[in-house]
Subunit: 217 residues, 2 copies
Amino acid sequence: MRIAVIGTGNVGRTLAGGFAARNHEVVIATRDPGETAARDEYAAWAAAHPSVELVAFADVSDAEVVANAVGGKVCLEALAQVGAGLDDVVLLDLSNPLDFSAGYPPSLFVKDDDSLGEQIQRAHPGARVVKSLNTLNFSLMVDPEDKLGETTSVFLSGDDEAAKDVVRGLLTEFGHRDVIDLGALSTARGTEMWLPLFMRVAGALDTLEFNLRIVRS
Amino acid sequence: MRIAVIGTGNVGRTLAGGFAARNHEVVIATRDPGETAARDEYAAWAAAHPSVELVAFADVSDAEVVANAVGGKVCLEALAQVGAGLDDVVLLDLSNPLDFSAGYPPSLFVKDDDSLGEQIQRAHPGARVVKSLNTLNFSLMVDPEDKLGETTSVFLSGDDEAAKDVVRGLLTEFGHRDVIDLGALSTARGTEMWLPLFMRVAGALDTLEFNLRIVRS
C-alpha cells in the first residue's frame, strides 16, 4: 500500500520503518524537511531506511493510508497542512490529547464526552478515521511479542468498517494477535482515557515497555 | 480483622462473603436494614452467610477496615452517615464516578484533575483512604484466577503506606498476585479513568468477566 506517516518522532519513525520493512511504499512527512534531515537522530534513521522518502506535510499525495503520528497538541494543525487532502484516505490516528503544561503526569485536553479522534474526523469529514495503537509505547508497536514474550491487546475504533479492516491487516502484519474492535469512532474516548492510567503504571514500574492484555474467561 | 462493608449490592455482598470466608469479623451496612433484609436477593445471600451481621450505616462502629462498596453517585452521602466516623480507619474505596444519566456507556462526573477517591479523602481527612478493586467486575474480585485462568493485575492508590499494606494483605488473601502500587491517592485518577475503556471493552466482548494484565518486558 502507499502509506504516508505524518510525524518524524519516535512513533513516526517506528511506523515508517515497520511499514517499509513489510514492502509498503512509504513516505514520512514533516513540517520542514530541511530542518528534519539535518537532525542527527533523524539522519541516522534515514540512512538505515533509504526507501522512505522525507516530504513536507503539504507534499503528501496519493496515499491510501495516512498515519497521524504527531503530538496530540499539534496534530490538527499538521493534518490541515496535508496537501492532497484526506478524502477517502484511511486515516490511522495514533494521537492522544496529552497536556503536559502542568507537568507529569499529563492531563487530557479532550475527554469523556469527546475525543481527539472525533475532532480529527469532524475536521476531515471525508477521511476514514480509525483510532488505534494510541494505547502503547512506540517501542511495542511493531513485533510486540519479541519484547513482551506474550500476546497483548490493541484496539480499533472507527465508523468505517472497511477502513478498520485495512488497519486490522496492518496491525496483523506488525504482529498484533489480539485486536479488539471496540466499535464506533466514539469508543476512542475509551482508549484515549486509558492514558492517565498508562502514565501512572509507567511511573510505578519505571518503564514504558508494558502493554495491557485483556484476559477474558 | 473487623471489617465493615458499606453497601449490599453485588460488590458489597461479594466482599463481605469473601472476607467472612477468610475468618474476618464482618458486618455489612445499608441505609435501611429492614428494607434490605426483605429483598429476596439479599435474603438468599444472608441465609448462606449467617456470620455477617446486617446493620445501618449509622450503626457501623469499631471497624478497622471500612470498604466503600456503594455506587459512586451516592457514596459520599452514605459515608457521611457512618456512625462512629472514619478516623484512623483503613477506608478501602472501590467507587467509580459513573454517570449513567445520558445512557450507556456512562461518563465520569469527576475526572482527570480530581478523583472520587480524593473527594472521599477530603470529606474524611482522618480516614486512611486506599483506592483499589475499582477496575474489575465484582465477579472477579475474589479468586480471580478461578475464572480467568491466569494472573491479572489490580492497583493500589493511597497516601498512607501502612493502610496500603493492610489492603495489599486483603487482596493477597483474595488471590490477587499482581498488585501494582501506583503511589499517592491522586493516582486514583488513573484507575477511575480506566472505566471508560472498561465499559467499551465490555460492550465489544459482551461480557464483564475480563480483567487487564499489565504485561512488562
